[in-house]
Symmetry: C2
Subunit: 133 residues, 2 copies
Amino acid sequence: MLASVVVSRALDRDLQRQAGLTLAEHHLLAIVNESDPQGIRPTDLQLLSTLTKSGLTRAVDRLEALGLIASRVCPTDGRGQLLVLTAKGRQKLRRAAPEFFRSVARYFADHLTDRDTETLTVALERVASADRA
Amino acid sequence: MLASVVVSRALDRDLQRQAGLTLAEHHLLAIVNESDPQGIRPTDLQLLSTLTKSGLTRAVDRLEALGLIASRVCPTDGRGQLLVLTAKGRQKLRRAAPEFFRSVARYFADHLTDRDTETLTVALERVASADRA
DNA sequence: ACTAGTTGATTGTATCAGCAACTAAAACCG
DNA sequence: CGGTTTTAGTTGCTGATACAATCAACTAGT
């Protein structure tokens, strides 16, 4: 817990200074970026994020207000949306990347051996998906 | 990050239902409980907690209002305080313990092998203490 | 089609947390 | 000592988040 708080606070601070984004917001952009180019449904995004449903709604609103993501009504389900990055959003993400990766290395990855990383990845994946299933 | 959020949300939910305590509050009580019986200084408590200075002040206020911890002026430093658990605080902690440990097992520990646990403990300790040093 | 129930997403409200500015006590130092 | 700097802790303010209730759209069973 301490480790995750220390790391996420450091990343959050760096991102805010560098790109004006919260870690959570940056994470959302990153997930959207890596998902289906057609767009991702908020529900799916929520499962991959650290936010709850309502938290996600608000965060998406902010990102939309910043012009970083765009939404359109899902053609196959009138209740839902499809979220995609705007050009500006992709740019923001791309520009933030180098320093972000440096921060991740500095606060987290550099402190782990390759074996540590392997173990963490597998074990924490198991923990994270346990009660989401 | 996802793992830590999933676990801490689950623990938080269980603790609030069971004992009316936030995970952060429970954590503070646990730290105070394990520290010097003479009391612990807020600054030291802060280093072991996931809160910042101001967050700690508020959390301590709440716990004091609940009668779970008590503070007195530090005899060797007029600016500081010494925090101790009250009898009520110790009782609260003791009563919450069995179910809390079950929750920890269920959401976290049970998903790890002994080797995982060993690796996590060592590696994350390193991460957590990196920029606190 | 019509109703019942479910699911996707939003909103009202309350709380918690953090930053930055502040107060007060202690340590430092010429 | 007297003045400056550092450290301990608090507070005003703001923003983010969660929970619970709500609204809207889909699905199914009749």
